[in-house]
Symmetry: C2
Subunit: 599 residues, 2 copies
């Protein structure tokens, strides 16, 4: 049975040493709760304990039991409801919600750190808490004071849960096709009718009420994405004082049989004149939803990190205990029948790959969350810079971290050999649970189009230059430094190539409109590898600085340095393969007629 | 519901045009059945129909039902037994067994072609037929005439099935650790005692008897792999006349709960003094098993092809019918609400990747099977050359084709978006069924050690030179040809780099014994990409030649050319990333102490 141990030391390294959060949090403005070092420690420790003791025990049993559907009711796995209640009672659901709105007022970066641990413990369970954040964010961005007072308290206390209702059977990536209708009751409420699919937590037996955030079209709304509005619609009507009223004509038609995340109920939801409230103005739904979506995309990138950590922990423990064959340099466990497989270089290659991606993901995503702190509570200049970085890097984070996590989960099974394919060890569950992360909240293809089309070329290269300038400055600062040369030289070269590749794609797009789409995923993957090279160079720099102080735990920093080297020597070479593929003319992708793919 | 259509046109292209099997089969010696063009057509057509009509209907239902275990008995999914009986009655089980031994006497390459189709229809089901081949091959290689007469007829008729029993709980890759014991009864029989795990078809409700091929140690046998013998042990005793006797103390203790291949019973088997016969001499077990294993490894490479074909078919059908968004160059389906997603370049990139790997796998594996024909029935010189190629290329085929198939299955789900994660469409089942292919019959890591250590460096580079010389000759033959330049130039360059990389790894290994293991998987992947480049250049050459004749089906050959270009422009650049990683010093892999991977 796999267990989960929160990586406290690495989290502390990233927060305190890599990101210097003590200074960062002290400087954050906004009249919210100050994050002192002690508070930070307390939150990390308590979240770690909650993840390990309350959530992790539901990981395998939740997968084995799954969700069940009968007579319109959904049964979730044993322990899910209790853990959700404990989560709400602990105040975790409102962690990053402003104090004035009833939350704890902590910065987004702390929420991310907590979500990593809870998600690694059991991502399927954490979906219920994550989706409960959807109506909360929608209300904070588009709700009146009255609506917030009506819905927020019980959403934050965990008495109610929430959903985000976007997809319909005929519209997934193409949200403009959605058909769910909203008709105006003239009394400030609207009646919603339609059917949504893939609604996580659309129905469950965990909370008394479920608050749905729904995209729908008002009568006469323009076609496509311009005619979409956002509504908040409870399963049971909510009176002005927050008490529960009648059933609101929201029913679950079925739940999906999925590859993984079996503890998370994925529902077909029917809205049959369900009454609700509009948030923001008419036809403003997509704009509001996009605010939520950027957070959700970083949240999904985080699934990549959470699953990577879990797969790495499992593989590492097994590699230390499984005895097979002898080290080529002589027995390392002479009294045993064979050596632990961690002595074998190819097993180490797999573990190092997992380690480089996992720790790189953590450092990258925590840094990105720090930008979210600044975008929300920094000075005007900080907020503008951080906002631009988030625009550019959110699709890279979502696309690259989830793709990298597929490889980490894959290697987790591979280290286990045949035993990885067996349910007992939990490694195949990690791969199944994680498989959806490159799909939902926008596939890697959608992220890539967002990156290349909207962000990079759409800003005339400005968003990208803002970031590559940072990398350039870093490289300049360490130019000529002997210890940093092995990182800085390739990084500077790839950073230049990023600009050249962008120019090539931009020019290609003028000649052939298909260039952007044909280059996009390879462009995103290239961008991800370079971004991670920057992250690992920065980690190396911090580690070298610490090592010069000859600390007692020097091994920790030497391991960071070794991992940075592994990343540069063994993973980073893939960047150029992606660049070459991205720069190719679109012809090789577009050459065939639709009926010429198979004969 | 996904259906399977055998890719008749591509199979015919590979056999007739790419491999010129008409000439090849006509020249094959061995006194066996001659494969005329008409016979070839009849076999391909009948196997295609069998796969589509008899096997494919069990694909999803077999996964949903799975196998069940109670009171020592295994229940297989509905339809499995009937399909197995039809398989035996159709004479398919003995297709490539010599006529003198009761088979059809057809060359191995035809067996491979049949297995592709049947395996693509339902790999889990085809495991029962594949494993039944294990005792057959063992008997053919190491059985006396009397033993063959006793066991072969009912194994070939499909009345009995078989297994291959190697793995024990504490020994997977490290077969030398096995403990199962054989004691001599002094009457030509042996008593086998021990427990094996991961025994596919170890127990089932399909056949009256099951013949186990078991590796075990005789008393006083040397430790390690030198002391292993091979036994054939039936579930029910088999009298000299082939009739069934008493229960032979072979029991199934449990079946595994696996990620996929749920219709294939993976059994824990207890042998409690089960009586059987030794094949070959004492301590000759591993040598005999290795003969079987080379076939089994190509058979597993074939799973890569089978699953790739299935994933490609599913994704292609969905991409043609799913309507989302408009083509960037204007609506292609103006009367519909959106265009089919096959118009979008990133969807095409995914489909072309699937097509390039799938068709490349087919051409490569069929060519390799043709080498197996020659090794078995060619002239002495042909047999020697083919044997050397098989030695070198079997681990590349097993490792590379199954790894590539992971990507093809992954993309199959990705094209489906969220629907790929749902069981209904069968795409996630393909990914689950296929996931074990890089593990069983030797993980990719084991294949890579075999390739670099035993085959390439172990032969002083000779085996590799035999192959790169072929590539070199091909490049020379087409040097200066304008149509072939885009393929021949990069191929010649990479072929040279293969030699250089080998020299670098060899030199590195002299300085540091860990070099081989740390380079091995990247070396194998590099080798695979170059081998596929050679395959695609040859396909391009055939296609250009055919196009010059202005055939009616020119679109087929233009599609081949376009796919070759796609492979060279978008996939082949990865070769250099693998070369760079493989050439890196082992330090980056070996730097950490065992307890420094996590803190």
């Amino acid at each position: 049975m796999p267990s989960y141990t929160a990586p406290r030391r690495d989290i502390q390294f990233v927060l305190r040493e890599f990101l210097d959060t003590d200074t960062h949090y002290a400087a954050l403005d906004g009249g919210e709760a100050a994050v002192t070092p002690d508070l930070l420690d307390a939150i990390v420790d308590n979240a770690a304990k909650f993840a390990e003791e309350v959530v992790a025990p539901t990981f395998q049993s939740g997968d084995a039991q799954g969700c069940h559907f009968a007579n319109g009711k959904v049964t979730t796995p044993a322990g899910y409801a209790e853990a959700f209640r404990a989560w709400g009672e602990g105040g975790w659901q409102g962690l990053t919600v402003p104090v004035a709105e009833g939350g704890q007022g902590l910065p987004p970066s702390l929420g991310l750190c907590v979500t990593e641990m809870v998600g690694a413990a059991n991502w399927a369970w954490s979906m219920y808490t994550g989706l409960s954040g959807a109506p909360v964010t929608c209300l904070l961005n588009g709700g009146t004071e009255a609506l917030k007072a009506r819905f927020l308290p019980k959403l934050l206390s965990g008495e109610w849960a929430g959903t985000m209702c976007l997809t319909e059977a005929h519209c997934g990536s193409d949200v403009g096709l959605l058909r769910t209708r909203a008709s105006d009751n003239g009394d400030g409420t609207w009646n919603i009718s339609g059917t949504k699919i893939f609604i996580s937590g659309g129905e469950q037996d965990i909370t008394d009420n479920i608050v749905h955030a729904i995209l729908a079209r008002t009568e006469g709304a323009p076609a496509g994405t311009a005619g979409i509005s956002l509504f908040i619609v409870p399963k049971f009507w909510v009176e002005e004082d927050g008490s529960l009223g009648a059933f609101n004509n929201i029913s679950c038609g079925a739940i999906e049989k999925k590859m993984g995340l079996k503890g998370s109920a994925t529902c077909v939801m029917h809205y049959d004149g369900a009454r609700g409230f509009m948030l923001g103005g008419e036809n403003q739904g997509l704009a509001l939803m996009f605010k939520l979506m950027n957070t959700a995309r970083i949240g999904t990138a985080l699934q990549g990190l959470a699953m990577s950590e879990r797969a790495f922990q499992g593989a590492l423990a097994y590699a230390r205990e499984r005895l097979q064959m002898r080290s080529i340099t002589g027995p390392k466990n002479p009294d045993g029948p064979a050596d632990p497989i961690i002595v074998h270089p190819d097993v180490r290659r797999m573990l190092m790959t997992q380690k480089a991606f996992t720790e790189g993901e953590r450092a990258f995503l925590y840094w990105l969350a720090q930008q979210a702190d600044l975008a929300m509570r920094g000075s005007e200049a900080q907020a503008a810079e951080a906002g631009a970085l988030l625009e550019l890097l959110t699709p890279i984070a979502k696309g690259f971290c989830t793709e990298a996590a597929q490889e980490v989960a894959y290697l987790g099974m591979q280290v286990f050999g045949g035993h990885g394919y067996i349910a007992d060890h939990g490694m195949e569950q990690i791969a199944r649970d994680n498989r959806i992360s490159t799909v939902y909240e926008g596939t890697t293809g959608i992220q890539s189009l967002d990156l290349v089309g909207r962000k990079v070329l759409g800003s005339g290269g400005e968003l990208l230059r803002g970031f590559t300038k940072q990398i350039h400055k870093f490289c300049q600062a360490w130019e000529g430094d002997a210890g940093m040369a092995e990182f800085v030289e390739p990084l500077a070269r790839l950073n230049r190539e990023w600009g050249e590749l962008t120019a090539a794609v931009g020019e290609g797009a003028m000649a052939d409109a298909e260039m952007v789409g044909s280059a996009s995923v390879d462009y995103l993957m290239f961008s991800g590898y370079v971004t991670f090279a920057w992250i690992w160079a920065r980690i190396a720099e911090v580690s070298l600085r610490r090592l010069a102080e000859e600390p007692a735990d020097a091994a920790f920093y030497r391991a960071k340095l070794a991992t940075a080297r592994f990343y540069y020597q063994r993973l980073l070479p893939r960047a150029r393969a992606h660049a070459e593929a991205a720069a190719a003319a679109p012809d090789s992708v577009m050459a065939l007629a639709e009926d010429e793919f198979a004969f």
